[in-house]
Amino acid sequence: MPGNETKPSSETPTHIALPAPTMWPMVTAFGITLLVTGLVTNLAVSVVGLVVALVGAVGWWRDVLPADRHEHVPVVPPSERAQPVQVAAGRVEHLKLGQAGHRVRVPAEIHPYSSGLKAGIAGGAVMAVLALGYGLIRHGSLWYPINLLSAAAVPTLATATTEQLRAFSSTGLAVGIFAHGVVSLLVGFVYAVMVPMFPRRGWLWAGIVLPLFWTGLFYGTSKFINPALAGRVDWPWFVVCQIAFGMVTGYVVARSERIETRQTWPLAARIGIESQEERE
């Protein structure tokens, strides 16, 4: 190994063979240069160049034929050789599983998707209660918020007057329940995945940040998606409803039992050879 001075010096040679220095490559290069220079100056230069190049080539050949010419370079005395590589002071600390930087995809333990389902239902229910409450208190009608939501998909509702929106509409109810239910479940799934990604009390932060995010998104796009609703949104109530949804969903997810991803298991357990109990 380089610089390994514990080896006896009899292993290190006293001379090392290296290719002998030679001027013939340079002479050949010069000859070729003269050869082409003659094309733009005087052909006599080219003739000289050809001769020089041939002389250089012959000299070069004699350097390599019959065998490469070597010179023996003396090995420098030990005091001038490379120092042995010092072992670094201190040990390298190994990262532990789950520690920042360790090669698992965090989080190493996740919430089951079923918790997302349950959370979505819970959050959706709470949000529905709040929204219906708004409809009753502000507009005296339970059907008002439901119809507004459905107005995105139902054309008659989209062009309806406020009076008509307060009235019961079977299509509105059906579409509204369907839309609200599906979206609540889907967002519930999203929460199941994302809550562990938020710092500390994930459900709290997820419950505030995510609703604000999609509120902003809705604010920007509602004109195109649901014009009837866009003009009529009572933003404070809207935000309250979304945050309520978020916090309830987040809380339900966070309270669910975590399951381990298999990243932290040894390979044998992961591919199913050993059962979980035997791992301990």
Binding site: M1, P2, G3, N4, K7, E11, T12, P13, I16, A17, L18, P19, A20, P21, T22, M23, W24, P25, M26, T28, A29, F30, I32, T33, V36, T37, L39, V40, T41, W60, D63, V64, R69, H70, E71, H72, V73, P74, V75, V76, E80, R81, A82, Q83, V85, Q86, V87, A88, R91, V92, H94, G101
Partner: protein
């Protein structure tokens, strides 16, 4: 083996010399050397010399363009200036400095004593040097269209039919052709040498996937040179035949196609710019891990990305020709392939960031240059992708936007990493550290100057300023940008002065470097600074990508994890 009879009396530098060697014997040593380290240093010194000369030409160009309707340089001289500046920078600065880095570092990094063909190595250097001399000799010897002694003035890419016998009288264009042709032979020789060395001379245990990334990238560069320089040689031979023997290759009167020259030139020219920038990547991939105290993020992906760049870059050449009227199909194909080649490059950029992320970064001068490289190369890459959009290119082709783009690549990308490389490996080559203080002055002054010069030129280009014009009118909105660009040159010049001063001062009074001043991990740091002629007393054996890390941390060696 008989001892050499050629130089019995020439002393080896490291051995205790009986008396100081005389100047002729030193000269003789350097002229006859086949040692890859000496040749590498000669390549770099020659490249830096041409850099200063060509840089002065650029400064003159910027003086002429600082004000509208300036008459500092007459138009014919201006044409020669930008032709010589471009030609010299690509062929006499970029290629040799890269060849120098490759030749110096590859044997050391793979644990070999020399390159595979040391005499061919020497030949390559000398023919490059003589070729460069031939190019500048044209100033003295080529009677051009106007007056005695003129250098080529047809642009660095020498488009037909301007280069035909009828339009470029005299021999100035021939000097361009011949000097580049013979320098090209040197480049091909170097490249073959690198490929053979890397494939056949790695030390025991160093499989291809255990080589330093520098060696991998340089292998891709060498392969590109071998494939891509012959098209240039072929096109130049055709042009020579046209000019000397009346052949009709690019003679439009006889049915020849001037566009064919463009195709052939850019089949060479585009991969050539990857040949120029990939070594910059190689240097960054060595410096960033060491100064972030982390191994390179995603070694296998970096290898894959480099190889992909090598292949895809062969298929993008006509993005230099969007404005000549190719079919919509061609334009689309080349626009797509150009965008595609940005993907592996982007992957590498993310890998460098990933290396720095979570590392303990030491902002020494080599690292400063590499960090600046990351930012500037990003700008360059993005403007490149903008130009890949064919309609965008129809507006901005041959404008200063393109000039700004490629100077961001070549200066902001390549030159900055070359500076980093010099600050990083100068201690290894000379045994002395370069001054950190002067290095930082060099870095900051040059950074300001470079960005001040080429940042505003993007805007001038968008405002319509074409390339290769020797002056411009007032009132086009270009004045302030050109003036700023020219002021930037002053800063760049001062930065270079700091650099040269640093080198000279450190050679004289620099701190002793020792074997391994940066606490690095590749094999070149295991031998003395400077290394003995034979590199290693005993050829090393490696078991991982970071052999010195394994030695420094025997309880936690890399081969446990690779």
């Amino acid at each position: 083996m008989p001892a050499s009879s050629l130089n019995p009396a020439v002393p080896i530098p490291q051995a205790a010399a009986a008396e100081r060697p005389s100047i002729p014997s030193i000269l003789h040593e350097w002229v006859t050397t086949t040692d890859h380290k000496r040749l590498g240093l000669m390549y770099i010194m020659a490249g830096l010399l041409f850099f200063v000369i060509s840089g002065c030409m650029a400064a003159l160009i910027r003086v002429q363009l600082a004000f509208p309707n300036n008459d500092f340089l007459p138009p014919q001289m201006f044409n020669r200036m930008f032709t010589m500046h471009g030609t010299a920078m690509v062929f006499l600065v970029g290629m040799p400095i890269i060849a120098g880095l490759m030749n110096y570092l590859v044997p050391l990094m793979i644990g070999a004593r020399d390159m595979a063909f040391p005499r061919l190595n020497a030949f390559g250097f000398w023919i490059f040097l003589f070729g460069g001399g031939l190019l500048y000799f044209s100033y003295l010897a080529a009677p051009g269209l106007s007056g005695a002694g003129s250098a080529p003035d047809v642009g660095w890419f020498a488009y037909s039919p301007l280069t035909g016998k009828a339009f470029s009288r005299g021999h100035s264009t021939d000097y361009w052709i011949l000097s580049i042709m013979i320098s090209g032979i040197g480049s091909i020789a170097s490249a073959i040498n690198v490929i053979v060395t890397v494939i056949t001379m790695r030390c025991r245990g160093m499989t291809l996937m255990k080589m330093p990334m520098f060696v991998w990238i340089v292998l891709v560069v060498a392969y590109l040179i071998v494939i891509v320089l012959p098209p240039l040689t072929a096109a130049q031979i055709m042009l020579l035949l046209d000019r000397f023997l009346g052949a009709k290759f690019f003679d439009t009167q006889a049915g020849g196609s001037a566009v064919l020259w463009q195709h052939f030139f850019w089949i060479f020219g585009h991969p050539e710019v990857y040949v120029l920038i990939l070594p910059g990547f190689a240097v960054a991939t060595e410096i960033i891990p060491v100064f972030s105290r982390k191994p390179i993020f995603g070694y296998a992906v970096m290898v894959g990305a480099s190889v992909m760049i090598g292949f895809i870059s062969l298929g993008v050449w006509a993005h230099h020709m969007f404005t000549i009227g190719m079919s919509a199909m061609s334009n689309t194909f080349f626009a797509t392939s150009t965008m595609l080649v940005g993907i592996p490059t982007g992957i590498k950029l993310f890998n460098w960031l990933g290396t720095m992320w979570g590392g303990k970064i030491r902002f020494k001068t080599p690292m400063l240059f590499c960090v600046a490289f990351l930012f500037q190369f990003l700008c360059a890459g993005l403007t490149g992708i903008m130009l890949a959009v064919a309609p965008f290119d129809w507006q901005l082709s041959d404008s200063y936007f393109v000039v700004a783009h490629f100077h961001y690549v070549l200066i902001g990308g390549l030159l900055f990493t070359i500076f980093g490389a010099i600050y990083y490996w100068f201690p290894k080559a000379t045994g002395k550290l370069l001054s950190e203080k002067l290095g930082k002055w060099h870095f900051w002054v040059f950074l300001i100057g470079f960005n001040l010069t080429f940042g505003p030129l993007h805007i001038a280009g968008i405002l319509g300023m074409p390339r290769r014009i020797y002056t411009y009118d007032v009132g086009r909105g270009w004045d302030v940008w050109n003036l700023l660009a020219s002021i930037g040159v002053i800063f760049q010049a001062v930065g270079i002065l700091f650099f040269v001063g640093n080198i000279l001062w450190s050679l004289w009074k620099g701190k002793k470097a020792g074997d391994d001043p940066w606490d690095a991990w590749t094999l070149e740091w295991s031998t003395t600074s400077p290394p003995p002629p034979y590199n290693f007393e005993v050829l090393p054996e490696v078991r991982s990508r970071r052999p010195l890390w394994d030695l420094k941390h025997p309880t936690d060696p890399d081969w446990k994890y690779e």
